[in-house]
């Protein structure tokens, strides 16, 4: 299958999806109270952007996702590398972190509000809790899976233990660490909306909560679509960036 056919098929489903939605709503099969039609969704979206300063909410949400994610990555990647490289470090942290990764980030929200209030710190902490343990464990596995023979070759070339970490383990695992980051950033989008549904006064999630009170399904759907589009774009940029960063993988 050629790339042209792939794009055509992918687009075809989008068109089909919107057609079905339009048919259900314009055809009067579904009440507008429950589901807005595509046209009013776009109209409501335009209103949001022009009259209600929705762009500010979008930017705040993006900042929260990236802020919390960068915080989690900045601590999680080095810790994961240390665990992957040194068995005692892994033995020390691994059981606790394996347990912690199953603690749902959303369940921490009441506690985090108690500790950090309802300000930005709390929002960042929700993203942090949701991303940190996943990053640590996946990076530890990626580093631990570095080909043994590459490490041995480096030793026979005179590399010290430290150089093994910086000159072999890190570059060998780097593409996978980038891929893990892309994946976890995707998940962070889910946490941020949950964090904004409770105790927030700005952000896309907050707007969705407000719209629910007004029974404005057009705004809710527009908010969801915006999250989807931002997620898709950031994922695409991340992928492109990774490809540029690691040309040796594709060579």
């Amino acid at each position: 299958m050629g790339p042209g056919a792939r794009v055509a098929l992918g687009l075809a489903f989008f068109i089909l999806f919107f057609a079905a939605w339009a048919l259900a709503t314009f055809g009067g099969y579904v009440s507008p109270t429950f589901l807005a039609d595509p046209a009013s969704m776009l109209r409501e979206g335009w209103n949001l952007l022009v009259q209600h300063g929705f762009m500010k909410d979008i930017l705040i949400t993006i900042w929260r996702v990236f802020g919390g994610f960068i915080l989690a990555a900045a601590i999680g990647i080095p810790l994961g590398m240390a665990m992957g490289a040194y068995k005692p470090v892994e033995a020390f942290f691994e059981p606790f972190i394996s347990f912690s990764r199953y603690l749902p980030a959303s369940a921490f929200i009441p506690l985090l509000i108690l500790w950090a209030g309802t300000g930005e710190a709390q929002k960042l902490l929700v993203i942090f809790v949701g991303s940190f343990f996943q990053i640590v464990l996946m990076v530890a596995v990626a580093v631990g899976n570095t080909r043994r023979d590459l490490v041995e070759a480096a030793y026979t070339l005179g590399a010290s233990d430290r150089a093994i970490v910086t000159r072999v383990l890190l570059p060998a695992a780097a593409p996978e660490i980038a891929e893990i980051s892309r994946l976890v950033l995707g998940w962070a989008w889910t946490y941020v909306i949950v964090a904004e549904l409770i105790g927030a006064s700005s952000g896309i999630g907050h707007m969705i909560m407000d719209s629910q009170a007004l029974l404005n399904t057009g705004q809710i759907i527009f908010g969801i679509v915006v999250i989807g589009v931002i997620g898709l774009v950031s994922d695409f940029l991340f992928k492109a960036f990774n490809r540029r960063l690691f040309p040796w993988r594709l060579a």
């Binding site: 070759a153 030793y155 026979t156 005179g158």
Partner: protein
């Protein structure tokens, strides 16, 4: 005093003995091939010399200093392709702590990789990767070069060319070499001496000096002298290969 002395080295994994007590001396400028059937422990012996594995008994001395861990004084080329995939050919050759840009450039020329310096390993054929690995080991200027079936994964024609290349390099600067192989012809063509190992647990069976003159040319492989060595070593190895086959389940690695 020998360059490299292997004294009573043996290796057991759990309850099984992989390698019998080996005593072997390698002289300065020697090219010694260790020839043995699959699973006889010849690779294990080389890994012990490299310091990548600890012997169960005995010790290895390089210039009278006991070997405890891997180091740049013992360069190694592995059977598997171990170039760092994120580095270009040139940067791979520069990886060693004692490598210099001058040495790297001269070796790139010697192993015929001029024009491929900036290629990544993925862009190279198996033969080119092993030439780079050889250059990488040599650029670090080791006291001894350890080669673990480095051409084992290559096709016959490429392997023959690689043997000539390595032999040419050795004839030029007589670096001490310890070369592990199961290929009889390869051992005769390259070595000054061939150490024949028995089936698992590997013991040293005999040491056969190869008195063929240098520089050696590939046409030498069809001379009567060469054939005589081949016949002699074939007999020695055959007995051991049969033994190895009878113990087949436990001989998964070389």
């Amino acid at each position: 005093m020998s360059k490299l002395a292997i004294e009573g080295v043996s290796k057991s994994f759990a309850a099984t003995r992989a390698l019998g007590a080996i005593d072997l001396a390698v002289e300065d400028n020697d090219f010694l091939c260790i020839l043995g059937p699959s699973g006889c422990g010849k690779s294990t012996l080389l890994r012990i010399v490299a310091g990548l594995e600890e012997p169960s008994t005995g010790r290895v001395l390089l210039d009278r200093q006991p070997v405890a861990r891997p180091g740049p004084d013992r360069g190694m080329v592995f059977q598997s392709y171990t170039l760092f995939p994120w580095l270009t050919v040139r940067r791979n050759i520069l990886f060693g702590t004692r490598s210099t840009p001058e040495k790297a450039d001269s070796l790139i020329f010697k192993v015929g990789l001029k024009g491929f310096e900036n290629h990544y390993p993925k862009q190279l054929s198996g033969g080119m990767q092993q030439r780079t690995a050889l250059a990488r080991a040599l650029a670090n200027d080791p006291k001894i070069l350890l080669l673990d079936e480095p051409f084992g994964a290559l096709d016959n024609q490429t392997r023959a060319l690689m043997q000539e290349l390595l032999l040419g390099i050795w004839e030029a600067d007589r670096k001490t070499v310890l070369f592990v192989t199961h290929d009889i012809e390869e051992a005769i063509f390259m070595a000054n001496r061939v150490a024949v190992m028995s089936a698992r647990p590997g013991h040293l069976k005999s040491i056969v000096p190869i008195e063929l003159p240098h520089p050696r040319h590939y046409r030498m492989k069809t001379t009567p002298e060469f054939s005589r060595y081949k016949a002699e070593l074939t007999e020695e190895i055959r007995v051991e290969s049969i033994k190895a086959m009878e113990m087949a389940p436990s001989t998964s690695t070389t």
